[in-house]
Symmetry: C3
Subunit: 141 residues, 3 copies
């Protein structure tokens, strides 16, 4: 096989401060556009208060994630974060994104996303209402 | 080098609800089977209540992980999880797997797993007693 | 493109038990040294009490991370860790590294690190004062 590479960005601007967006269909479409049959697909948030993760597309579970992240890395009191001395108030978003992860690496097989039956790829936003990018880099043959 | 790709699954069915299984020898064998000398090996749980992670093969530490995950994402009270309105009672397993991670990407060098001296690859099960798959995808030359 | 592969190690010995080191310039230099134009770069801690993660190079935030990790995985009481029956006292470091992550996979585009505007690559040390290695493996064309 000849080695090939493909890159494209996805853009997001969520209306809510925190949100989860299922981006599996968009990633699947980019893999087909790339023409790569066998390889690896890297999907990563390019902003450090957002996340890419893989889990179940079940609304109750997504609400559980949101409640749990707020327990582990609470937004309040905002005086708790030294980062806020810069004028930002998104310290918690940096921590939440760390729990959920920056990136997912996914197998590409026979020109398709090679996922388990319930695996869905999510964009996790923890400091929304601004435009942010996600990198999709696919390499293979 | 010519570009090559290899995929195989590992299957697990743990007797306990939560368990850790050292799968380093199985991954090493698959790398040799692939014939790939230089590249990257992706190992990921294909189920969203299980994990692949790399840490120390020390029994006390694995017990520490288990105790700690139960503190950060407790199984009880099961009424705490909106996910359980679906009839599932594994909300905690989704959270625990998120802490431990879905995947590991490991270097392949001279036809071998290129790990540090204490790095061992583990399958982490958080909702066991059912058959689950792990993906091993190796790309390189 | 012809497929190529490159590996090199970085060595660290921090003076403090816990520390964060921005290694972005070193990774950028290795990508240029590799001659790889399009591909993926894996950076992983080879020791299981250290981490590679990507976040903001802002001192206040790094202090927030340190405080938060000590809350989620406290060093004391050391009697809390079964791992310490081996004579080690770094059980917390294994857990902290798990939160922050073992590895980052980063896109390489046109011979450069393909990062978002604030993404910086950090080495996270949680049990320092000893020499430790980081793997940099770059594959592509």
């Amino acid at each position: 096989m000849a080695f090939k590479s493909f890159r494209e960005y996805l853009w997001f601007e969520t209306e809510k401060r925190r949100d989860f967006v299922n981006i599996t269909p968009q990633i699947e479409a980019l893999i087909q556009k790339s023409g790569i049959q066998e390889g690896l697909c890297l999907v990563n948030a390019m902003h450090i208060t957002a996340s890419i993760f893989i889990n179940d597309a079940e609304d109750g579970l997504l609400q559980d994630f949101d409640r749990w992240l707020e327990e582990l890395a609470p937004h309040e009191p905002v005086t708790n974060y030294k980062h806020h001395l810069t004028g930002e108030i998104n310290g918690d978003a940096h921590l939440k994104r760390t729990i959920m992860g920056r990136e997912a690496v996914i197998a590409v097989t026979e020109g398709r996303l090679d996922l388990g039956p319930w695996e869905q790829i999510f964009y996790g936003e923890f400091d929304g209402r601004r435009r942010k990018r996600v990198m999709v880099k696919i390499i293979g043959g």
